[in-house]
């Protein structure tokens, strides 16, 4: 029994021995095998390299007029051309057609310009006529209103005078006084009627003089303007050929157009009962634009005296100076007479009114005498009452006339103001001139291309970089063929990552190697710029010696920049990144049951600089004797047991 127990004990020990070995073996399989090394002093070299293509320093675009049909292309990309070599040719038929079309466009533009000028001139004349008509209407309204007011005022005064005469003679010769008043009224009416007839005759004479003067002036101006008139308005040739100027009338006529102004003034004096109505023409011109004229109340007794003329010209004067410059004489005369017709009409109306009044006064006197004979019993008091009633009625009529005249004047002044309203600027003529100049420039270019038989040649010695046209297609608006200038030398343009920006700069030494193994040293970086197409890339340009490498050849560039000397450099594969920071694992010895074991201890470090192979750490990140784990066959963590491989 004891032997069995002893055997079991021995078996137990053997069992434990076996698993001792197995557990050791299993443990050794789980322990990471690492290699480690100590930090060292060193520099971090940054090597920037990339490949690119050799290109010319300068490019030149060859272009021609857009829209030309390409007849033939004589070059292809990469072909070397000399100055004067034929690049491509355009179709002459199409070119000639374009030239003809361009010339026709210019002719059409000229004709349209002439039409526009003519229309513009006609519009100006129409505006002048409208202004003239507005002024005439205003004058007529003033004349008419003035006449009515004056007449009403006179009748009112006359009634008052009769009433006062009746008061003075009431006690003695009441009936005789009335008769005297009526007789006096008849005399005054007759005198007014005579004056109106005289004014009508003077007015006609003044208009005739004005017509003659206008025809004379028109003949003088026509000789100077005839050439222009012929050039611009052919239709007006009839004026000079078929309708001669009335030279004799012009020579005999010495009447000034302003005579009519005097006539109008005379008329004003005649129809006005007050001395204030004889104010001069200048005063009337000043008063009109502001529209301040009005018929006053009976107390002030200052009736209307103004005429609406902005330019200071009396109605007829304007017609004589400006309106007939390019008109037929008969048209001119007709227009002047039409313009002054309202004055004649006003005079005729005045004559008719005065005649009616005269007849009424005569009838009143006859009626009075008849009544006096028939009813001698009429009392003075009854007559005074009638006269008082008449004075009141006349006054009311006068006030109504003043209001009507003011309303008419206001409407006429507004119409005249509208007619003389300023017009907007018109640059049609200048724009047409510019357009024509542009078309002429295009025509000259087309003609030059035609003169060269539609052939476009190379302006420089170079290499064709790109051909932007196709045979049979229209030429584009921009570049047709892009050339590189051989005389400007070559450069290598290499694209590198934007992350390399800190390690390459202008004037850095570089080495350029071509695909065939040709190596150029001692070159420097000419420029470093952000790539236009990809903002994440940099374009590094290296100027190449003349004739060193042909354009179009691929080459690589390499630039090396050493950093300052760092005290703590480790291989970059020993560096781990976590949450934006870096850490390393260092070897630490630990006493365990299994003896002294190595384990990995995590240490956070600050990286000063690094490249593809090495990293420089902040001084003090590692102790001098610490070994940094640079390689491991298993993933490490804080405290991982490791086994160092020598």
């Amino acid at each position: 029994m004891k032997r069995k127990i002893g055997s079991a004990f021995a078996g137990f020990l053997a069992f434990m021995l076996l698993f001792t070995l197995l557990s050791r073996a299993a443990d050794s399989m789980t322990v990471a095998r690492v290699t480690a090394q100590r930090a060292r002093k060193g520099r971090i070299s940054h090597r920037v390299s990339g490949s690119g293509k050799v290109v010319q320093n300068r490019e030149q675009a060859v272009s021609t007029l857009a829209g030309q049909t390409v007849k033939a292309i004589y070059v292809e990309e990469g072909q070397q051309v000399a100055a004067g070599d034929l690049l491509f040719e355009v179709d002459l038929e199409s070119l000639r057609g374009q030239i003809l079309e361009k010339k026709q466009e210019i002719q059409i533009a000229d004709l349209q310009t002439g039409d526009k000028l003519s229309a513009l001139d006609a519009q100006k004349k129409q505006d002048a006529i409208n202004q003239s008509h507005a002024a005439q209407d205003y004058a007529a309204a003033a004349q008419k209103g003035g006449t009515a007011v004056s007449r009403a005022k006179e009748e009112w005064n006359r009634a008052r005078k009769k009433l006062s005469s009746l008061k003075e003679d009431a006690t003695e010769t009441g009936a005789d006084a009335v008769q005297a008043v009526l007789e006096e009224t008849c005399r005054e009416k007759q005198a007014d009627y005579d004056l109106a007839l005289q004014y009508r005759e003077d007015l006609e004479e003044a208009i005739d003089d004005l017509v003659e003067k206008a025809l004379t002036d028109a003949q003088e101006d026509a000789s100077a303007m005839r050439a222009n008139v012929r050039a611009t308005v052919g239709a007006q040739e009839v004026f000079t050929e078929e309708t001669p100027f009335p030279d004799e009338a012009a020579q005999d006529t010495t009447a000034d157009p302003t005579l009519l102004s005097a006539a109008a003034q005379t008329e004003t004096e005649n129809v006005s009962a007050e001395p204030e109505n004889t104010a001069g023409t200048a005063q009337q011109r000043e008063a009109l634009p502001d529209g301040q004229e009005s018929y006053t109340t009976p107390q002030t007794e200052t009736p209307y005296t103004g005429i609406p003329q902005d330019e200071g010209e009396w109605i007829v004067g304007e017609s004589g100076d400006q309106s007939w410059e390019k008109e037929d004489p008969w048209l001119l005369e007709l227009r002047i007479r039409q313009e002054n017709q309202p004055l004649l009409d006003a005079a005729d109306q005045q004559i008719r009114l005065l005649k009616g009044e005269k007849e009424e006064a005569d009838a009143a006197l006859a009626d009075y005498l008849q009544k006096k004979a028939q009813s001698a019993q009429m009392s003075v008091s009854e007559m005074r009452r009638q006269l008082t009633e008449e004075v009141r009625a006349k006054r009311q009529a006068y006030e109504d006339a003043v209001m009507a005249a003011n309303d008419g004047l206001r409407s006429a002044a507004q119409a005249a103001e509208n007619a003389s309203a300023p017009k907007g600027s018109d640059s049609t003529a200048e724009i047409d001139a510019i357009t024509r100049e542009q078309k002429e420039l295009e025509l000259s270019k087309l003609e030059r291309l035609l003169a060269a038989d539609g052939k476009v040649t190379s302006p420089i010695n170079g290499v064709v970089l790109s051909v932007q046209i196709l045979t049979g297609e229209k030429t584009p608006d921009g570049t047709a063929i892009l050339l590189s200038d051989k005389a400007s030398g070559n450069k290598l343009v290499v694209r590198v990552s934007q992350e390399q920006d800190a390690y390459i700069a202008r004037s850095d030494p570089v080495t350029v190697t071509t695909g065939s193994g040709k190596k150029l040293e001692g070159l420097t970086v000419d420029s470093v710029r952000t790539d236009e197409e990809d903002a994440e890339q940099l374009d590094v340009t290296v100027q190449l010696p003349a004739d060193a490498i042909e354009a179009g050849v691929s080459a690589t560039m390499e630039a090396v920049r050493d950093s300052e000397l760092f005290d703590c450099c480790i291989p970059v594969q020993a560096l781990y990144e976590d949450k934006g920071g870096y850490y390393v694992f260092v070897l630490t010895e630990k006493e365990t049951v299994l003896g002294t074991e190595l384990s990995a201890q995590r240490i956070d470090v600050q990286v000063l600089d690094k490249n593809e192979t090495d990293a420089a750490l902040q001084n003090g990140s590692l102790n001098g004797g610490q070994q940094v784990i640079v390689a491991s066959d298993k993933t490490l963590a804080q405290g991982s047991r490791v086994r160092l491989e020598q």
């Binding site: 004891k2 197995l22 050791r24 006493e591 365990t592 049951v593």
Partner: protein, 279 residues
């Protein structure tokens, strides 16, 4: 019937004594989840009492494999314990047996005083001798070495005391006969003393084995190097999350003691009886 009742009582007591071992064996077969659930009142201080099943719900040998294959530290400690125990027992046999023979069979001055001194030293617990042992071992540069554990144990007084009792029980006539036959001192010791005192020697060694297999205080005091630690220090270094591994390690720790007990239980009774006899 009369004889069965005591047997039942004794069987019940025996089961009660063996229940911790059953508890231990059941725990080694539970998975981590079941262990965590069962031990949570103790481990996680969640309150209540630990409930234990005699048979695990989901038996597994996972903890045995983990200990045997993934815990090389356990085997280091196991063999450290084997080494310490074997060396101590060998030393005690080599040193203690002659010492006990000398005290039992030779008459020399102050022998009785020396015996009393031995008993006094045997009665002193380790805590009393710890400081002096430490100073001596430090002077001898034996700290943090297995020799610092082995040497003091080799010269332990307890096995000498046990063997002394057995050697004293050998009749003097036998020894006198040997002398008459011309046997020398060594011959008498090797050919008469050792065979007749074998029971005492074995019982002393069995008792020493049980003591030094579970040695805790001395290694904890004198050994800083963990690689020298014995198995008794393995369990305190296992966390609650590895309770299954702790149960398995306890089983493997228990096994040698059981084997030794079974091998020397006859002598062990004699030795315990000898230690209890008054001189």
């Amino acid at each position: 019937m009369k004889g069965k009742l005591p047997m039942l009582l004794l069987g019940a007591l025996a089961f009660l004594c063996c229940y911790p071992v059953l508890f231990l064996l059941t725990g080694t077969l539970m998975d981590n989840g079941e262990l965590r659930e069962a031990l949570s009142p103790v481990v996680q201080q969640s309150g209540g009492a630990v409930t234990w099943r005699l048979l695990p719900r989901y038996p597994t040998l996972q903890h045995y494999l983990e200990l045997l294959l993934d815990e090389p530290e356990f085997f280091v400690m196991f063999w450290n314990t084997v080494k310490l125990t074997a060396a101590i027992l060998a030393g005690q046999f080599l040193i203690g047996t002659p010492a006990a023979w000398g005290l039992a069979r030779f008459c020399f001055p102050l022998r009785r005083l020396l015996s009393v001194l031995y008993i006094i030293l045997m009665m002193m617990p380790f805590q009393v001798r710890m400081l002096s042992d430490y100073l001596v071992l430090d002077r001898l540069h034996l700290l943090d070495t297995h020799a610092g554990i082995i040497l003091p144990a080799v010269f332990s007084t307890f096995p000498v005391f046990i063997m002394y009792r057995f050697f004293r029980a050998i009749p003097e006539a036998i020894l006198e006969s040997a002398r008459l036959d011309g046997a020398g001192v060594l011959q008498i010791f090797f050919y008469i003393g050792l065979p007749l005192g074998a029971g005492g020697i074995v019982s002393a060694l069995v008792l020493s084995f049980l003591e030094y297999w579970n040695l805790i205080e001395q290694p904890l005091t004198f050994l800083k190097d963990k690689s020298l630690w014995p198995l008794a220090l393995y369990l305190p270094n296992i966390g609650a999350e590895k309770a299954g591994t702790a149960f398995v390690s306890s089983v493997f720790t228990l096994a040698p003691a059981v084997f030794t007990f079974l091998l020397g239980k006859d002598y062990l009774e004699q030795g315990i009886a000898a230690a209890a006899v008054k001189e």
